[in-house]
Symmetry: C2
DNA sequence: TAATAGTTGACAATATTACTAGGTTAAATC
DNA sequence: GATTTAACCTAGTAATATTGTCAACTATTA
């Protein structure tokens, strides 16, 4: 799992929608303004988010984007995966003929690391992040670590 | 903590040295060949690794790079930090005036995530990765998760 | 001492990715 | 129906990542 500003923008935007959602769609210009992200960039990100089925769109005035599932049903990892293709986790590309090959000693580390990060991010829903002072996340952290 | 291919290259190269080290320095062309990383790029990465004090270099024939500490004394996170500057973890840049501001709801998530990843990577040494079939890492994983 | 194998550093060149700008289309309101 | 608002699409530019080249400089070896 690759972690860049792109991932963060996508998550931030999704959080913004979840946070401000009151049944009505949220427009990208709104998000762009609130979160200080370029509108064009947001459009590209949301193109992917839509393709991945995470959001639905309504055109025209009053339109915008809505989460296609509940905020407690969308985890951070799927948002990131929607906009950022996976990082090749190993030099060998994860090929199975790489077992115990000294040319690919980092295979396991990156594999494991990827799994760890993904696990961490798969345990956190948009709703949990939004919940005041993030007590939910703190709980996760304390119990898991 | 930003995670990109660059980070992986650096870690992979360090692991290669640790793995092949028998008291003698390891040359970059060797690593480039074994790990399929461009020599030029390796040179740039090792320039940083040296500046950070993680490796020492020996010039001339038979020269190359050596770890400046034991492989069990170098953790993955410091390798990554040496080559990759930190990712801004939040849109607000972590400024303290951002508390409970709805414009920066993702603040805590990214902060926490960064800490988690760093913790994970700070618990793993080069030596642990190299140890056959990574039993050490598995142990860490099981106990922590 | 000459030749060689290696590091080191400075650039330039290319490739890939991040980000921006502008136009087109769809729906709503006036 | 004209205007507005917003999604959508197609580029372009800017920034990084990656590779390539060349010229010192250093130690080894013959």
């Amino acid at each position: 799992m690759k972690l860049t500003t792109k991932s963060r923008y996508a998550v931030t935007a999704m959080l913004d929608i979840a946070y401000h959602n009151k049944g009505n769609p949220i427009s990208l210009p709104e998000i762009a303004d609130r979160q200080n992200i370029s509108l064009s960039y947001l459009e590209q990100l949301f193109s992917r988010l839509k393709k991945s089925g995470l959001v639905e769109s309504i055109k025209g005035p009053g339109g915008g984007y809505m989460l296609s599932k509940g905020a407690d049903d969308i985890v951070i990892s799927e948002v990131i995966q929607a906009v950022d293709e996976d990082l090749e986790t190993t030099a060998c590309n994860g090929k199975s003929n790489c077992h115990n090959n000294h040319q690919c000693i980092s295979h396991n580390l990156w594999q494991d690391l990827g799994v760890e990060i993904k696990n961490f991010l798969s345990d956190i829903t948009l709703q949990q992040v939004i919940s005041k002072n993030n007590s939910d996340i703190k709980e996760i952290k304390l119990s898991e670590y």
